[in-house]
């Protein structure tokens, strides 16, 4: 069975508009979580967010994306998608081929347009330009139409693990022979819908988040997008190969609609299953890009699940202290970061953890370091008990 490799990556987040900018920011331990300056919300002065400081109009202009009804979500996706396909040097024939799949994830879709959606859902005349842009699929349908793609196109929404599942699904499509290559990723932008939803659940922090700290107060929402180009190793000739998608597993915690079980069965099973598909053992994992949202529940449970699975928990950290929690984009953004770990054989510091969680004593990596890395695990856990772990390996 041919291995599935990554030949292109693209990312935009609160710490940078490109892969190179994101890497520099990660090396420097830059935090992109700040006061809102573009997105209008009552919470603008009350809590910080991982906002991308480019207005929707600027994005439209920069990307030459002036089609009617295009949302900020679609624009962020387009930004990362364009970088990934250029990086992989995909030809137009390859992009439009019947065997090129597009698998994207989003949990917000066009719902970032709160006022327009409120109007269109409640008033019986004067529909806005966005009537077909609210759903989750609108993002990938926009990309598919813009690039005239004709292979399998799919959108996945498993809350905060959405784009990890998109990556897994793309890899499986290739393995099954349903696609020769797959462009996979995810996107979400800031929206009143998610800000107020997470606020109502009392899991937003009024300060910059502190993953895996004993005194953590909750998460910060962020926005961003990332895409990866996946191909069969045997098809890749004369182009850069970043990493192998070696392991993946989707499992359910089946405990509560919006929190994880004390024992962390879902996280434990997804991490364990990913090791099994990669055919490696616990001792082989060099680093874990943790889900690490900095909520009371997630970090305690994720820590416990890591201790349960690993004899010695490998070095780990959460990049959500850099970007905020980008929801449906998080799995893909963190996959790109994991690939950067491997490509440059370096670990980026997790920010803001002063005191480790007393019950576990686990400390995230706090300083930048160069070290040999072979297998990186990336965790994504979401509402509905949806847990997915991925493993990327050196070639």
């Amino acid at each position: 069975m041919s291995r599935i490799v990554v030949t292109g990556i693209g990312v935009i987040s609160a710490i940078g508009n490109t892969v190179a900018e994101n890497r520099t920011a990660l090396q420097e331990g830059k935090c992109g979580i700040t006061a809102l300056s573009l997105f209008p919300s009552k919470y603008a002065g009350l809590m910080p967010f991982g906002e991308i400081k480019i207005s929707t109009e600027e994005l439209q202009k920069k990307l030459n994306a002036t089609e009617r009804g295009v949302t900020r979500t679609s624009l962020l996706a387009l930004h990362a998608f364009a970088e990934a396909i250029a990086d992989s040097q995909l030809t137009n024939d390859e992009i439009t081929a019947f065997d090129t799949a597009l698998i994207g994830a989003s949990t917000v879709g066009g719902m970032c347009l709160t006022d327009e959606l409120y109007h269109d859902a409640n008033k019986n005349e004067g529909g806005s330009a966005y009537l077909s842009s609210y759903d989750f699929a609108s993002v990938n349908i926009y990309l598919q139409e813009r690039y005239k793609m004709s292979g399998i196109v799919n959108t996945i929404n498993t809350a905060c693990s959405s784009s990890a599942n998109a990556i897994m699904y793309g890899a499986r499509l290739i393995k099954s022979g349903r696609a020769k290559r797959a462009i996979v990723g995810g996107v979400d932008c800031l929206a009143k819908f998610t800000i107020n939803g997470f606020n109502a659940l009392h899991i937003l922090s009024s300060d910059i988040c502190t993953p895996f700290d004993e005194q953590r107060k909750g998460l910060n929402l962020g926005e961003g997008a990332a895409f990866l180009v996946l191909e069969r190793e045997e098809d890749v000739i004369a182009k850069n190969v970043y990493a192998v998608v070696s392991g993946y597993c989707n499992a359910n915690d089946s405990f509560h609609p919006s929190s994880l079980s004390d024992e962390g069965d879902g996280p434990y099973l997804s991490m364990k299953g990913a090791l099994e598909t990669a055919n490696i053992t616990v001792g082989d994992i060099s680093f874990i890009n943790a889900h690490g949202t900095a909520t009371e529940n997630n970090d305690a449970v994720e820590s416990k699940a890591m201790i349960r699975l690993f004899d010695r928990v490998p070095p780990f950290a959460s990049t959500k202290s850099n970007t905020g929690h980008t929801l449906g984009a998080a799995g893909a953004i963190e996959a790109v970061y994991s690939i950067l770990n491997l490509t440059h054989q370096e670990i980026y510091p997790g920010l803001n953890c002063k005191n480790p969680i007393a019950a576990t004593g686990l400390q995230p990596v706090k300083i930048y370091q160069k070290r040999p890395l072979q297998h990186i695990m990336s965790n994504s856990f979401g509402f509905g008990g949806n847990c997915t772990s991925l493993i990327f390996s050196t070639t």
Partner: protein, 330 residues
């Protein structure tokens, strides 16, 4: 659920709503908190879950999930100017709440995913299940699709021209020749595995495509038939997603001309929604069992017995098309 497909219910205000079951087995406190999409999804799944000896996961397709709760929450955000809100509607509205709730109910820690690709959400869920069963034919998965009519998405779709503006009866759906269809909703679930012995039906192939070009649909259909219909076999019945929208009839006519066999329609029973093809698959399973097509469904002559191979063609808003080929041996 026992449904008599010979009798027809007419729509009210151009909407065909689900007839909800009694939801035995769901504690009333939990039932009350469920949004409609979660409720009907769980309601459709529970009887199958009881039948299943074991389950290895849940695969759900839904374009919108709990739309009613979603907009209810959004309306609160606007009306209370981002004030103090309760999270119930937010949690119920996420599309993965259906599969999540099923996992929770059954304490099932296996594969759990939600596909939301609009008019191909169910088809993608089916492809997912086919890939899993190819690797693990002994496993059992619950595959399904759910979409609800809410006041809000009805409004959005009406503004976009998806529904007829004049009140219609389901009986005249195919003869009015105006733009739009009537609204519908359903929750449909299937128990699938890799063993065709005693199966209600066998899935031979599923294919989705995005195009507005009839020539592409025709070419893809021919390739699909060549690839998936066993040599020497014929399609006994075409289940057509024709929906009375005069902007889409050219696609259905074109597919009928290529397949050229007995044709039956179902959107007068269901209305239009993104995951309606899941109902068509359920209907095909019924027809395999009864070996008879109710006359209200027939567009042509009755199919010749036996009904062995059924092709479903559905078209969502002229841009998303799917072919699903099912067979029933003996």
């Amino acid at each position: 659920m026992d449904v008599d497909i010979n009798s027809l219910y007419d729509c009210t205000d151009n909407k065909l709503k689900v007839i909800e079951p009694g939801y035995e087995g769901i504690p009333p406190g939990i039932l009350r908190r469920m949004g409609k999409a979660v409720r009907i999804g769980v309601g459709a799944a529970l009887p199958l879950i009881k039948e299943a000896a074991s389950l290895d996961g849940f695969i759900i397709g839904t374009a919108n999930g709990g739309m009613e709760d979603c907009i209810k929450f959004l309306n609160q955000i606007i009306q209370y100017e981002e004030g103090v809100l309760t999270p119930g509607s937010f949690v119920q509205s996420t599309p993965n709440a259906i599969a999540g709730q099923l996992g929770l109910f059954t304490k099932n820690k296996g594969y759990n995913i939600t596909h939301v690709h609009r008019g191909l959400a169910f088809e993608n869920a089916v492809i997912d299940a086919m890939m899993l069963l190819h690797d693990h034919p002994e496993n059992n998965y619950l595959v399904g699709a759910v979409d609800e009519i809410s006041a809000y998405n009805y409004n959005i779709e009406l503004l976009s021209g998806a529904y007829k503006k004049e009140p219609v009866s389901c009986k005249e759906l195919y003869t009015i020749h105006s733009e739009g269809c009537i609204a519908g909703e359903s929750a449909v679930t299937f128990l699938v595995n890799g063993n065709k012995t005693n199966a209600v039906a066998q899935l031979l192939g599923v294919h989705g495509l995005h195009t507005t070009d009839i020539a592409v649909v025709e070419k893809q259909l021919q390739l699909f038939i060549q690839k998936h219909l066993p040599a020497g076999e014929k399609i006994d019945l075409l289940l057509s997603g024709e929906n009375g929208d005069n902007r889409l009839s050219k696609y259905y006519t074109s597919v009928e001309n290529i397949i050229n066999t007995a044709t039956a329609r179902f959107k007068h029973m269901t209305g239009e929604y993104a995951t309606v093809s899941s109902f068509a698959v359920w209907l095909a399973c019924q027809l395999f069992q009864t070996q008879d097509v109710p006359s209200h469904m027939l567009k042509t002559q009755k199919p010749q017995a036996p009904i062995k191979n059924i092709l479903i063609y559905n078209n969502y808003k002229g841009a998303q098309h799917s072919f699903i080929l099912l067979t029933k041996e003996n």
